[in-house]
Symmetry: C2
Subunit: 453 residues, 2 copies
Amino acid sequence: MAKPTPLSGYPELLPAQRIVEQQVIDRLRRTFELHGFAPVETRSVEPLDQLLRKGEIDKEVYVLRRLHADEAEGDARVGLHYDLTVPFARYVLEHAGKLEFPFRRYQIQKAWRGERPQEGRFREFTQADIDVVARDVLPFHYDVEIARVIAEALSALPVPTLRLQLNNRKLIEGFYRGLGIEDVDAAMRTIDKLDKVPADTVAAMLADDTGLSDDQIKQCLALAEITAADTSFVDQVRALGVTHELLDEGLRELAEVMDGCTGLVSERLEVHAVLRIARGLDYYTGTVYETLLTGFEAIGSVCSGGRYDALASDGRTTYPGVGISIGITRLLMPLFQRDLLTASRSVPSAVLVALPDEESRPVCDRVAQSLRARGISSEVAASPLKYGRQIRYAERRGIPYVWFPAAGAVAESPIGHEVKDIRSGDQRPADPDSWTPPQEDLHPRIVGEGEPS
Amino acid sequence: MAKPTPLSGYPELLPAQRIVEQQVIDRLRRTFELHGFAPVETRSVEPLDQLLRKGEIDKEVYVLRRLHADEAEGDARVGLHYDLTVPFARYVLEHAGKLEFPFRRYQIQKAWRGERPQEGRFREFTQADIDVVARDVLPFHYDVEIARVIAEALSALPVPTLRLQLNNRKLIEGFYRGLGIEDVDAAMRTIDKLDKVPADTVAAMLADDTGLSDDQIKQCLALAEITAADTSFVDQVRALGVTHELLDEGLRELAEVMDGCTGLVSERLEVHAVLRIARGLDYYTGTVYETLLTGFEAIGSVCSGGRYDALASDGRTTYPGVGISIGITRLLMPLFQRDLLTASRSVPSAVLVALPDEESRPVCDRVAQSLRARGISSEVAASPLKYGRQIRYAERRGIPYVWFPAAGAVAESPIGHEVKDIRSGDQRPADPDSWTPPQEDLHPRIVGEGEPS
């Protein structure tokens, strides 16, 4: 077999990078669980008709076929899921009788899209989702809770400053209705292009395609320009003089979410009301969330979501939901690719037990086992090379300590062992049944911007 | 959308079961990391030509195709991996320049096979693999280490007694060569059928298809009958009077692996030398491992592996390896399906903070946040229902404690709070900044045979 080459769009990590990714997932999971979110994992495939319900995405679905499938076999046509929301909605309907509502779940899994690979876009990627879903009615306070949980989760990540941007679809829709705009959706979709298209062009599109008046266009653009790091956006909107019941509701809701995030803002995480944001997807009906990574805005939102009045429905019962999804791969890969993020070592081992000779392996195994019994990850050297070469073995992997077992006759006694910190060169006697490294050396540490060193 | 139905072969867990599966994965990961195995995750797809190298498995591969792929597009043909060994071998070759050898890795991931679903066979399943791979030469002591690590890992699982069965291909091959058998592989493949086919039939096949003499057949069957819970198998083999250099090597290696497992045998895990085992796959060249779940022998081996002289090769460099793979789905699903295994609750929450009225939500949020700050998973009630109904909310989820916040005026003081253990009914004053539940209530516990209660 010749040396294999990477598959475009399918990122793969070296062990030190995977250690970082795992720790990121561990931190997210811990935050989600502290807030009482239960773990769910769905199968990786869904029937094609489920995957294609959203319309625009159909080109990106990967269809599965058994290599030698018999055409007459009648296998249900299935494809890999492209997000975790569609499978979760199906899971809720399928298992509704066995779930307790409101149902709070987190789900950390891979998803697949057959997109053209580019920075921030992958064909296989890992997402971390949280959602709360209820039967019939989901109280608004969950919109606040989702923002708070995700703010806490994002603040714990070893990445540059994140900027959580909030808006509310009712606010936009109420404002547009107050202006007398009839095709609210069309206007919203056009305004949503402001990120990529100059305001002049957007204005022209609003006039030509959506038939808005100059005053309506001016007001829409004015609303879209409003941002605030607190609830001062309310007065800014009021100053535009538009009134509508739905606008009031949207303003009140967005102010509550912003208020809920006070105290979670830090150097690591900014929270802004950004009244331009609509989020393209059609099913959001209230709060919308998106998140930019400072310095990497071009990769798009790394954490998005919102409220949907009908996350799922079986015709008789409707399940409203609110949730958000962190793009773990999208968030971490740009940092890995630029060597801005790694781990302090490429193995879990804190200790390499050196091997004086092959006959001493049982003694060395016992030392390692004694360290492991106290939670200290340890491995025994592969071969009884000269100690200098064994130290090099540890160095190349970033293992901080090398243990020199007692020699010969006293091998089973706790006397005569020594441990060396190969970073400082410091070497001293140690007892395998009690020696413990400093807490910060126990596990590989994340090294990168945004991570306290 | 009508109520969806399950897809055959794609198991899906309820939250309490997923909690068990996660804890099982956590325990495996902890054991692997304590022994210094580094985490690797490979992409889910491989080029088809890689997946088909092993020959027999080709019918089971799922091929991926973009729904509206342009035929002229020339996408590399890829399929989902059906195990973690083929992707790992490719990973080693692709990243060899950036890895340190001997390379010890664990990998816990899903795999897919288009098999006909049946008990113990799934189309999507989770595997946990460990392997050690070296450049050119891999010392034999790693065969012992893999057995020890896996014995430790299996002993920590909440399942009925496991029976780890060991053998060595050199032992069989040496014995057969000592008997003068020429087509050793054919004889081994036939003897391997003893699990499913009566000895008479196997004997007839050895005579008719492989051309063995009566004495050779008698000796092969005698060897296949030998089992031992210690190294006494060596004398049993010697008593058959066959000699060959390779037989000696196999006996010595198997005895070393058995010796290495002394001390790891328990009520949870038996370790046996079973000289019948060959493991069907052609690439094993020394030690072979397989594992049966007591009472569920029919599902087949739940943990198998062995030594291969060439795990991977790029033509210039050969990478020998030794490894083993736990079938997590195969192991847990029969227990879930029979309600033999579950978690003490379906949510991580140890505490439900009751909500006296909607105005008290900020107070309740602060109580919950104070508990979370000390690692106690907590959620606030969804609505200010009567306390009896809020207690029912906790009961249905298995949440052991309900917190009653101080009423009205003293809301922000630590005075006046009470916490109730809803299992015993015991209710007493508690301070949100210091109260802690007993350790065993902090996280959902696994409930099932094989788990201390």
